[in-house]
Amino acid sequence: MNNATANGLPPGRRAIDIVNAGLSKRYRRERRFRLYGISAILASLLFLSFLFGSIISKGYTAFQQTFIRLDIFFDPAILSQESLTTANYPGVVKQSLRQMFPEVTTRQDKRMLYGMVSNDAAFQVRKLVLDSPEMIGQTLPIWVAADDDIDMLMKGHFDLDVPESERRINDVQLAWVDRLQQENRVEKRFNRTFFTAGDSREPEQAGILGAVMGSFYTLLVTLLLSFPIGIASAVYLEEFAPKNRWTDLIEVNINNLAAVPSIVFGLLGLAVFLNFFGLPRSAPLVGGLVLTLMTLPTIIIASRASLQSVPPSIREAALGIGASKMQMVTHHVLPLALPGILTGTIIGMARALGESAPLLMIGMVAFIVDIPGGLTDSATVLPVQIFLWADSPERAFVERTSAATIVLLAFLIVMNATAVILRKKFERRW
């Protein structure tokens, strides 16, 4: 049988010999490709761990805060003078500090002494007195937050080798801190303020709750708008719209929108929502609307891809027993596409969570202390808070910037993990 020539092979050569000859080359190629893949992944892991490492190593200290124990004398002489709400609480704190350091007499030194504790101490005392006025007349040990400079000193962020005149903490203050430490009056504790307070210009009083709530309200608006609108648009375009030049045009535009720099959406929001509709500046409502514009293309594209991936046999099955198009979509196609749609939505949301540029235009890049309680209250969002802190001169904001970044990353990781879990959970194989 001279099959070889019939197959177009040179006579005397069997196909298997040729296959075998090329085999090692094929495997080599495959090994090389795997190697490239692994090194690409390793490289990105390396960058990622570098990023995380640097942020976490800079930021973890912000989750602790230095506290100083003061023996506060709730002096009836000061506290009964006026009504208790407006009494001179800073005076109470100052008096206690003076009693602890009786040797401090000059005006300059006293100022330095008062500066050792956060000016929040007075508000803390005020709250205590208002809650239980029977304290008046007693002397009680109270832990108050240290000033940010002392906090930085305790965390070792100051170089003590430079000449005294060039340090933010001078030798006198160092001596005071030493003394407080010897008396066990200095302690590092978990920094609750960081999670329960709004922004502040005093680092030791600054927290991310305001920004987190702002992000929450903003994303709530974004989700409530972009999810249904995104799904509706995707379903309409994919299942109902005729395929013609108009729908092509719409598709091209949607794809383009997904690539538009986000600041453009901010400009649009400024022109439309603020100037035309007269919605309030800096409000999560407007932020949410702007981010909706930004996330919609992502959601629509992801949803359409996900709808497309539902096998046509399922559609035919439903139509074949007399389901209407709407029933086919809602009973079969949409449930099957949902994991993909949810993944797209969460990824869109995660992008919206990290976005700050478009919010600049609508006034959400702002110093806002009060924690927003609704959609129209002035608010800022987490990435903006990070940006604002990064731009603050106080040294203690450096670690808080990183800490806020850690929180943001944590949110992003949770969201993306949810996307993965949802996909895993609902993913069906046909």
Binding site: R111, G115, F123, F158, D159, V162, E166, R167, R168, S200, R201, E202, V221, L224, L225, P228, I229, I231, A232, L274, F277, G278, L279, P280, R281, S282, A283, L285, L289, M326, T330, L334, G363, V365, A366, F367, I368, V369, D370, L375, T376, S378, L388, A390, D391, S392, P393, E394, R395, V398
Partner: protein
């Protein structure tokens, strides 16, 4: 079913949207915009004000001085800001815009001074510069080194080229971009002043002079470092040969790692800026829309807080944040003007 709930959610949402438009008509917090240089000071006052009074804490946006005036002068009404901060005085053109949009009465409040420093890392020794040195090092076109009275593209590569008494280090200055108020002030206070020292430049017509004095070189030695002054500070630490240009408050917060260069023989210290001997300093302002006083709750009280001695005085809390207070007399003058809400007049 899903579709129905989608429709429902969307409808509810638009209703909520429409409803909130009404809510916006009753703003109960002061809205402040403007300069990023004044921002660190205004925010401290706002926070203090919010804590110690029953009013809400004012909202402060950092939009830059020009951006602030634009928003401020857009009109009267709750959707427009009540106060704008500025690291320079209001320009006539901006004043006219305000007038045209019905913002008739504006109260100007000067709050103090800010020094602009040229600083380097403590790892190097402090530089003793003159404004002329800085101009020659950073201008795009400089007077011909041969002495001829004409401008040539900046040939200087090292500080020693500029001035023999300076070290032979490469010129490398990190500074703010043109959008920044700090840059405006720097150009005006350093470059322009130095340019005037050359009679032939001073004699140029207005536009030519501006071009000569205001244009910063783009061939490398001047690096636009973005608006983030903290970043500049970090970069200086990494590169001892580099100089940085930023506001005094950042030097004040980082005196352990960086130092201010001498400018015309004076080092940027709190005292030197306050008494005016340090040449590169500028006044900071804010402007109040008088029509909003009494409409938006708390404006009057905010003004009182800002202009009290414990805030902007010699020992006030703003000085701790790096603001250089005005002399006593000027403060008193402004305090009484503010109390009377004396409107700004520009002819």
């Amino acid at each position: 079913m899903i579709r129905k709930s989608i429709l429902l959610a969307t409808a509810t949402f638009f209703m909520a949207t429409a409803g909130s438009a009404y809510a916006a008509s009753a703003r109960d917090n002061i809205s402040i915009v403007g300069s990023s240089t004044v921002y660190p000071f205004a925010t401290v006052v706002a926070e203090q004000f919010g804590k110690t009074t029953s009013f809400k804490t004012p909202k402060i946006e950092s939009t830059g001085s020009g951006g602030g005036f634009k928003l401020f002068c857009a009109g009267v009404g709750v959707e427009h800001p009540d106060i704008t901060n500025a690291s320079r005085a209001m320009k006539k053109s901006e004043y006219d815009k305000c007038q045209a949009n019905g913002v008739k009465e504006i109260v100007e409040v000067k709050i103090g001074y800010d020094g602009i420093v040229v600083a380097n890392s403590k790892k190097a020794s402090p530089l003793k510069l003159t404004r002329k040195d800085i101009f020659l090092a950073l201008a795009k076109n400089v007077p011909d080194p041969s002495g001829a009275e004409k401008l040539v593209p900046n040939p200087y590569k090292t500080w020693k080229d500029v001035n023999n008494s300076l070290p032979a280090a490469k010129i490398e200055v990190l500074g703010p971009p043109p959008t920044s108020g700090t840059r405006d002030a720097f150009v005006e206070l350093v470059m322009e002043e130095a340019a005037k020292g050359f009679p032939f430049i001073k004699a140029m017509d207005k536009n030519d002079f501006k071009a000569a004095a205001h244009t910063v070189r783009e061939d490398g030695p001047y690096v636009e470092a973005g608006e983030n002054d903290n970043l500049i500070v970090q970069k200086l630490n990494a590169n001892p040969d580099a100089l940085g240009i930023f506001g005094f408050s950042f030097l004040d917060q980082n005196t352990d790692t960086i130092q201010g260069s001498f400018v015309d023989g004076v080092q940027p210290t709190f005292e030197a800026i306050a008494d005016g001997s340090y040449p590169v300093s500028r006044p900071l302002f804010f402007y109040v829309k008088k029509a909003h006083v009494g409409v938006i709750p708390g404006i009057q009280e905010y003004l009182t807080e800002f202009t009290s001695e414990k805030t902007w005085g010699e020992d006030g809390y703003l000085s701790e944040k790096g603001l250089i207070p005005m002399p006593d007399q000027e403060r008193q003058q402004y305090q009484s003007d503010v109390k009377a809400l004396k409107p700004l007049m520009m002819k």
